[in-house]
Symmetry: D2
Subunit: 386 residues, 4 copies
Amino acid sequence: MNKIEALKNLLLKTRKATEEICAPLEVEDYVPQPMEDVSPPKWHLAHSTWFFEQFVLVPNDPDYRIFSPDFAYLFNSYYNNAGDRVLRPNRGLMSRPPVREVIAYRQYVTEALLKFMDKSDLSSEILAVITLGVNHEQQHQELLVYDIKYILGNQPTFPIYGDSFSLQKEKMERTFIQFKEGIYAIGASEDDFCFDNECGQHKVFLHDFQIADTLVTNGEYMEFMAAGGYGDFNLWLAEGWDYILKEKIQAPFYWHQQDEKWFQYTFQGFREVEKELPVAHLSFYEALAFATWKGMRLPTEFEWEVAADRLNWGQLWEWTYSAYHPYPGFKKAPGALGEYNGKFMINQNVLRGASVATPKGHSRKTYRNFFPASSRWLFSGIRLAK
Amino acid sequence: MNKIEALKNLLLKTRKATEEICAPLEVEDYVPQPMEDVSPPKWHLAHSTWFFEQFVLVPNDPDYRIFSPDFAYLFNSYYNNAGDRVLRPNRGLMSRPPVREVIAYRQYVTEALLKFMDKSDLSSEILAVITLGVNHEQQHQELLVYDIKYILGNQPTFPIYGDSFSLQKEKMERTFIQFKEGIYAIGASEDDFCFDNECGQHKVFLHDFQIADTLVTNGEYMEFMAAGGYGDFNLWLAEGWDYILKEKIQAPFYWHQQDEKWFQYTFQGFREVEKELPVAHLSFYEALAFATWKGMRLPTEFEWEVAADRLNWGQLWEWTYSAYHPYPGFKKAPGALGEYNGKFMINQNVLRGASVATPKGHSRKTYRNFFPASSRWLFSGIRLAK
Amino acid sequence: MNKIEALKNLLLKTRKATEEICAPLEVEDYVPQPMEDVSPPKWHLAHSTWFFEQFVLVPNDPDYRIFSPDFAYLFNSYYNNAGDRVLRPNRGLMSRPPVREVIAYRQYVTEALLKFMDKSDLSSEILAVITLGVNHEQQHQELLVYDIKYILGNQPTFPIYGDSFSLQKEKMERTFIQFKEGIYAIGASEDDFCFDNECGQHKVFLHDFQIADTLVTNGEYMEFMAAGGYGDFNLWLAEGWDYILKEKIQAPFYWHQQDEKWFQYTFQGFREVEKELPVAHLSFYEALAFATWKGMRLPTEFEWEVAADRLNWGQLWEWTYSAYHPYPGFKKAPGALGEYNGKFMINQNVLRGASVATPKGHSRKTYRNFFPASSRWLFSGIRLAK
Amino acid sequence: MNKIEALKNLLLKTRKATEEICAPLEVEDYVPQPMEDVSPPKWHLAHSTWFFEQFVLVPNDPDYRIFSPDFAYLFNSYYNNAGDRVLRPNRGLMSRPPVREVIAYRQYVTEALLKFMDKSDLSSEILAVITLGVNHEQQHQELLVYDIKYILGNQPTFPIYGDSFSLQKEKMERTFIQFKEGIYAIGASEDDFCFDNECGQHKVFLHDFQIADTLVTNGEYMEFMAAGGYGDFNLWLAEGWDYILKEKIQAPFYWHQQDEKWFQYTFQGFREVEKELPVAHLSFYEALAFATWKGMRLPTEFEWEVAADRLNWGQLWEWTYSAYHPYPGFKKAPGALGEYNGKFMINQNVLRGASVATPKGHSRKTYRNFFPASSRWLFSGIRLAK
């Protein structure tokens, strides 16, 4: 199978996977936007399609006729270079177009892409943009999972989604793996696909460090809660302390206390918290407070990357105490695609690893995920370092 | 046809009418809540049903089994006496239950009501509550029309709803009808159904007044706009002036300027403004500023009621310069139904008349509608007085 | 003493009285604006002076030279017709001009006024504006008292102001005075000074009513509190209920609970609440909830005016269940002075009577004071009706 | 002069310097808090005193009697371990205690400190806390300058403060100094005083870099403005772009455009912008947008420290593209003093160098200043790197 066939296969598989994530939903579930960070599922379906239409078909395929002039406006996310857009907090007001039209849009664009790829002479630039489009859609698959969980988990009736994306128990004994100080190579080598934020290998000096071989579990986190962790300001960053007071946070997101027991909303419904599972849905503030309470710390993203080959990772994204800043020599691509990553490089923390919601083939040890320190709806967890 | 049969017919007709208002909608349109005042259509469908279940069936029909225990919580609006409820601004987050379950809920309750009414010996108290439930549902029918217009009118694509609820041209010559000072009787006589806020006839002294026999038209209002009405603070209440500055209001709601022409969103789509139609979707502030610009004023609710028999009314609710306060001798009913009207009697203005969205048979000259002075999504208009 | 001499005396006395109210203050107390409704004392001193400069001297006295061009901008309150102004919430940021310059400004303008009034031929229009200026300054005297109490009462150290403006015990037995239904004359006759909002006698029909001859006391109000009045939503307007929940209100303003006893900040310091004093610093919502709990109601402003000659009034402004709306035939004056009252006629309630903070000679039975239903820092109280 | 005498001298000199910064103020200027970040000068005077009282005298001097029990509460800043405190945004409401009492408090504590230091046997721990108190007061001196400029610069009258803290022209030719890649030592060595955030030497690997020997000037920045820099979103971080749109930022803070010319508020009054002076009062967003427009970047804090000995620095703090995070091995001190720095280590950027407002002897090349990326009232500037 040649390179183009492989890409076509990957494209088709990715497009289908997005729709499968939505299969358990009611039509009504595609619409709401319960907080600004969460986008309606309908919007993800359309936006990941718009990306291909806008950046692959419109500029490169003279035979392509756009599906609808409205959609360019409706499903742009943040690309200032690509024209006006619906303001982010208003996505949940868009009952139109209905879901069935969005599905038709998806099919139309997928078919046009495949047809376009069958034509000879696709430049490496075009192939790169299609590959980026696939990776972009995979990122939205993961966000779709987060957002669906948020939408369903905020229904008073806690509906069941299904068995996908469930967590496994962690190994109960924890070992700290040791690393020696020295110069290490960090970053992706650019032989394979990488995002601009992780590309460009460079050197970093690390001092001696140790990193845990397991994630922190619900059981350990409940000990922290029982010990008054949410009430002891000495464990918290000032900003985190203000945050938990203002938001009245006393437990991980999706947790609820009933009759002195802790329950949590999961995709399989409302269930008692299981101690052996890794603790999830924490802000960076909570992760750090826990580590501080343990007398330990969180790893930096560089320590994590150096250690990655010796860790089990992939259940939950792991908060690092590293700012999401550019690597040495980072350059934005020209045009709209240059808006992909660079403009978010301030006041966010890097998370490393992957989660059960990460599409297969989308994870690698150089991958830099990033969220504001207060985010809790993503599939995040804690790995300790010292 | 006896009284109970008549009520059964009215009930059935009313229940059906609610569903017919929703007929042109997509499933997705039932979900969003684009501002706090607007409720999702799904919510109206369920809440008007919940009212019958909660206040007629549950306390009076020993054979009745509630449709779902969740619904009592989900579709309570503001009845503190009836238990906890979903906070108003969160109604748009409820993708569940899906529309089809709400429709099933409606049918289940309608059938249970009819069966219950077939049993002998319905007390006059029960009949009164059923009658109140019908009137309550009629009120929600009108709100449904407002809310559907708001939801559709805020889609970037301005979808068409249909030909219902459209306005007719006003008579072009205006006459002012004169009334002499004296004592007048105000309020409903309680022989027929009336809401508690309008019941209890009492006397009011009115000075000489004159009232217009037509509503103000779009054409007249465009003259006000062209004369700089939105820019001259001397025409405005201080609160209204702050409001239009803050909200950047320069025209009635649903109006849009394109190439120096004024267009408006209507249920029939996006159309150029017609001068002969009555101007609609104005706040009290705008209505009063217009009247001030004309060197006139708005009527009080008492003047309006006295004049009503000599007016054509019913296209648009008419703002009065009367506060929505209790009539002399007003008493709240005991229990949850006492929360129906009295608790809203502060900082709202009375509107009199009816609108094209008012269900047939639901209007009368003593009817007191009420909204905050800033409300613009209702079907409101202007009648001048002097 | 002729009419002009009398006005000069009144002017001088009024100017001095303003300064005496401020005598107990530290320089620092003249600066803060702890909430938007409260103006810094410095601002009152300057603004009441600006009024005379702007509306008497500048337009009428060709010899007058303004004190400082900055002041016209700095101390305009809300007169849009008089040019730009400092936004209300920013008054507390103005540390400059220092207090001593404001005092110099006061003296400069007072002297210029007296000199101007010594010239012959003051038209009746000019005398009317000077009289209005005096009444305007008297209104600001009362606001000064409210604002000083707010500023001092929100110091963690509860400083003592002095013995002025203290309340007397109410008579302990309450009688309800009865009035018969009929047509009554309402409003000021315009022989003496009146504000535009109270001028214009007109007729009102009143039904039979009874009104209490004493104000509600702290002791009675504590019974309401002890009976759970702040926790029973059936006693409250919906807007009031939301307000006390949001603001966490459980007692009148300035009250503090310590060791199960109630204390309050007074101008004489922090003291235990005395049961026989009239209860003060209540919102309209609280006044109405109390009346509802008593099975009574609040009077309308018309009932109050009709009864006034048979009541003792003047300790506290009395909330009425009347909207602050225009009387029949109300007309705004042309120009900036037309902004005095009319533009506030929406969403405020009328209070009748006077308070211990009202300057001598400034009260009369036709006087219409007005505040939003949520205001609590004014000297307000409760008189019951039925 | 022995070590204790030297510290006494430094203490006395520092206490006096604080008061000299306030000498040009009116009493009224000590009171306002025009935004949350700005504290009233009175508060700085008292808080820097409270620090000595709370952390030196109270725990260590058995003869010391506190000046006033209220002050411990009133002038605590953010030390949760030291008890309750006035909420930060409410500092400007505290007209009491008056300035003269705060001055008396200062003298009382200074004298008590000197007396205490004359006693024999001061442990090195106590000397360390006194030294920290001196450095703490020096930090507040710099904040005092920022806050005074903010308070005065937001007076509509733009009052003159005086000639202190004025900027010098930059050298007009810029050279980029080159550094080779390699391992460098970063951080203070702890022989002299250092804050906990800079202590602990450690190694950092740096790639080749170049850094400018001058700061960016007003003239250069005006070129950026003239080229549309504030209107081209491609130059901005997404968060910065939202920020300048929301705050309507089109120029550095304190700049005003009049008749096509740029003026700025300075301590010497309102003046036309001088091209040769370094541009000041910029957010990190603006600094980075300027660098991006130049095709360059901002240095990291490590590059800056490595280069420091070859740079002229000290007119303005220089934004770096480094997050304010802990150095390897960072440990919080136990107790309240542990709250000094560590708890702020999230979502802030490091600034390096010093400014004309930095007290003499308070700057060193390892010093880590830090502010949120949006801060503009500090004395900040731009140094380019590549």
